[in-house]
């Protein structure tokens, strides 16, 4: 399935919860904010927002990483634009 992941850099404090849970999807940048990755890669350069194709298992990990963020800076949407997290 295709999902959109977005990090709000204004909320992100670099706590690295998302990186700990889903290192293939998030990486901290020079600003100490989380960039979104596509399976460990950053096609077209670093970005706070990305649409990626994921398996069910990957989806669960990404949702868990969003739930783990103490400042709720990670937003996850389905392919129709419906916000899956924060609920």
């Amino acid at each position: 399935m295709k999902i959109k992941i977005k990090v709000d850099p204004d909320l992100c404090i670099g706590a690295a919860a998302c990186v700990t849970v889903a290192p293939e999807t998030f990486q901290l940048n020079n600003e100490n904010k989380a960039d979104v990755l596509d399976h460990g890669q950053a096609p077209n350069g670093p970005s706070y927002e990305r649409e990626i194709e994921v398996t069910d298992e990957e989806m669960q990990t990404i949702l868990l990483s969003a739930e783990s963020c103490p400042v709720l800076a990670v937003f996850v949407y389905d392919e129709n634009g419906k916000q899956l997290f924060p609920r």
């Binding site: 670099g14 100490n32 783990s68 103490p70 709720l72």
Partner: protein, 399 residues
Amino acid sequence: MTMTTIIIGGGIAGTACAEELRKLDPKVEIILISEEHHSLYSRVLLPHYLKNKVSRERVFLKNENWYAENNIEWITGERAEKIDVKNSFVLLSNGRELPFDKLVIAGGRTPRPLSEDCRGVAYLWTLDDADHLLQLVSEQPRPCAAGIYGGGLIACEFVNIFKNFGLDITIAFRGKHFWSRVLDVESGELINQHLIKNGIKVLSQAQFVGLRGENEISGVDTDKQNFDCKILGVGIGLDPDVSWLHDSGLKIGKGISVNEKMETNLPNIYAIGDVAEVFDVYSGRNRVMGTWTAAQAQGRIAAHNILGEENKFEQITTSSMNILGLDVIFIGDNDREWADEVKIEGNVVDGGVLQIFYKTGQVIGATLINKNLEREKIVKLMKKIDRAKITLSSFTPTA
């Protein structure tokens, strides 16, 4: 027969444990005891709420219905006062005795109070503290002098919040600089200079003597210098909530000692989150992790282990803050006495300082001031640790 698990503490560790238990087992009886009346909220979001980046409503991570919807008995406004290990029950502050099969202690830590108190003195740990601070700040006309006493994470949050409100800030702390027991002189001086550059008056090596003011604070006396303030933010450390456990038989150090499985030295009793001193496989000793991410993971791990699994806590902890644009990151174990060697790279002139902590020649932790790009390198080095070489101080729980 249905198993009863009592969880003492309704913060992130305790709630994560309850949530995971319910996911794993629809039948287990779960009782969650919370001293606060609020449903789960994020302490980490409180500074964002105070700076008006998020609404008060956004701070809550669970609504009040969540507990009943998940068949979790949620007892609020009560404290656990005693554990009877022999007869397996917990005594609550209202006199109720609750029997348990498994007990999880997740009582967290509480801010160390100043020796004096009066109106205008603020702490920053709970949502009620945040509401109180907002009230104090909104009452004061500008210009307004604000004081901060302390040199750690919470003092750092007060700096950001008071600056955001346009207050004139004086900060006083006992050490030569912020985190004086962890940071080297160059790191500390870099932070001091950054604060001064941002118009903050810094009083280092200043011991608190007393508050001035009759009904409301008008200033603070220290053994170095006195200063005026209408609001004082206090951040002088946190203590684990363990005073009620001293005759329980639990092994207690800087928190309740647990192994990687979150087991205490007593059977069927677990401790998680800020109240626990957990064995850190990356540094070879028990320590209080003190991060949101660790507390949440420990809650989930305890839930699995309560149900007979053998999950272990293995996390490279990081805590990260930003003081008026200056990034400060702590990774792993930063205890100078535990480390064999501490290497320092960079200095004040360079504008960034990295401290790396070594044990048996291996990296066990680091502090990064304005050195964000070094983070990944340090974490990679820590992942390579040869655990057999790190001196082990873990203990085996006794049956």
